[in-house]
Amino acid sequence: MDGLVIEHLNKTLGNRLVVDDLSLRVAPGDLVCLLGPSGCGKTTTLRMIGGFLQSDSGTITINGVDVTTLPPERRPTAMVFQNYALWPHMTVFKNIAYGLRLRKLGRAVVEERVAAMLALVNLTEKRDRHPAELSGGEQQRVALARALVLEPDLLLLDEPLSNLDAKLRVGVREEIREIQQRLQIATVFVTHDQDEALTISDRIAVMSGGRIEQYDDADGLYRLPQTAFVAGFIGAMSTVAGRVVDAGLLLGTSPVPVACAALGEMPGIERGVEWSVGIRPEDVRVDTGGSPTATVLKEVPHGHFKELLLRLDGDDATVIRAYVGTEHPPTGRVALSLARALLYRDGHLVHEVAPLRPAVTALAAP
């Protein structure tokens, strides 16, 4: 099997299981993000792929070669470090040429390949500068060039954008994606920023507690978060307790219609039990007509749309969020309906309720 294959990887650091039976495949040419909060084991996983940490058990294979026990200098990987780790006593040229010189290539070949890399990252003029004389974004590009010049089988990026300011970050991440696609190089990208992950990845592995919660593309991850953790981590999601009734979902004390279907007719959904209902704010329709089921608590402007905090009728005063347009946002008592809802039990997604045929999709055995 080509690309990166990780099987049953484990790592304990100081009595804490940091990576827990992790398996992952990265196809050749794909960019995969390891996404998760701090301490979820994403950087530890990356360092094990790069060879800077030894796994306790499990195997890592790159293009069919088992590299599990190889030191970093003998792995076909190249890493871009979080703080770039450029050598301050070498010029840009020497930083990039260092690895090539170790390979005993002729001077002309080294010159040529470094020049090509400098052109790729747009730093030809900075060739003889030292890292301290470069801006953060330029240093980042030197680090990328230093990794890519060796034509590695696998590129590893450890939160490469976390030291850049917000505006630069967007530009540089697009650049990284563009270069990665041009070179068709398999890449593992560690980040805690979901925007970053959603915008540049072919697939994303959402991690928590040393495990992969879900491995999917950006669309699947957003539309069908398989676990409550992913639902809470990716995008905005209101989670409320609810039951299935004829008219829709009973949230609070009021039945809220879902999609355009009467749920009671739908087969396969267990009734009379409590579900954890996940609702994206953009799937909530807020109406001033009809019989009201909620009260607008607060209105938060977000520029091109507004976010409403809505309190559902009922004793537990559950709050859900809705996105509405900026023109005449509803106030006071309102009626809600849902375009889509996700039903979770024990932290796992069981049903998606959406205006499809059939309107209810059974996703897993409850």
């Binding site: 800077f52 970093p72 200098e73 050598w87 690895g99 170790l102």
Partner: protein, 297 residues
Amino acid sequence: MSAVRAAVETATAPAAGARSAPAPARRRRPLTPGRVAVGVGMAVLAVFIFGPLLWLMLWAFAGVWHYPALVPQSWSLSWWREIFHYPQLVRSVGLSFTFAPIVTLVSAVVCLPAAYALARFPVPGRRTLLVVLFASNAFPKIGLYITIAGLFYALHLMGTFFGVVLIQLLGTVVFMTWIPAASFASIPRALEDAARDVGAGRLRVFFTVTLPLAAPGIFVAMVLAFLASFDEAQGTFLVGVPNYVTMPVQMYSLVSDYPPQAAAVFAVLLSIPSVALMLLVRKHVLGGALARGFELR
């Protein structure tokens, strides 16, 4: 620059109101009693530090100088000639410049790996070790040397070249360990990881990345070790005499057996390497390599 600032202050003064009005007055500091006291104190300190040096320089070029004259009655270079024609003294100059570089190199070879290990690996008892190194400087040296002399007699090291190197080494260990260890510790591990990542083995990483980056600290340590060895008198006196009489040891007999001019000339000669080397590393010493060495945790 200050003219611009003054102009800005003047321009903003009406808007800012009374608060900024005293600003121009701040430029000439009033002569308060406190400031006068500080000035006098600094002058006294300067005399205290530079006075003896000046006195030494005067003696080195003095022909006749009798109390109570403030400057010598006559000048002479005769003692400079004398010193350079006295074989025993010339030999001591040669010896000093032989021992100091050798001791510095041996110290580097012995201490630098230790410094690296202390900085990079979880050595058991690391803190204790560092403090113990320092403690060797806390005892009265002569007491320590006399005990060591007992050991040296047993090992037949008394009066030998190697014995002198060994005893001088002792005073250099603290510099050679603490300062480079701090330099090594201040190099982010990611820089070494990055070098391994692109294919360099451990040794190559050390020589192409770690060592060049720690070089300023190591350089300072080597200069201090050189000076420690160069100025070492007590241990060398005990172990080396009569076979190996270095310049500082020679000073003892000069002071007791010769006129002050001879000692002064010799003292000036002895201080030349110190002053030259200190000027050379001034940037690094002030730049914090030395200070960082003693902040090591």
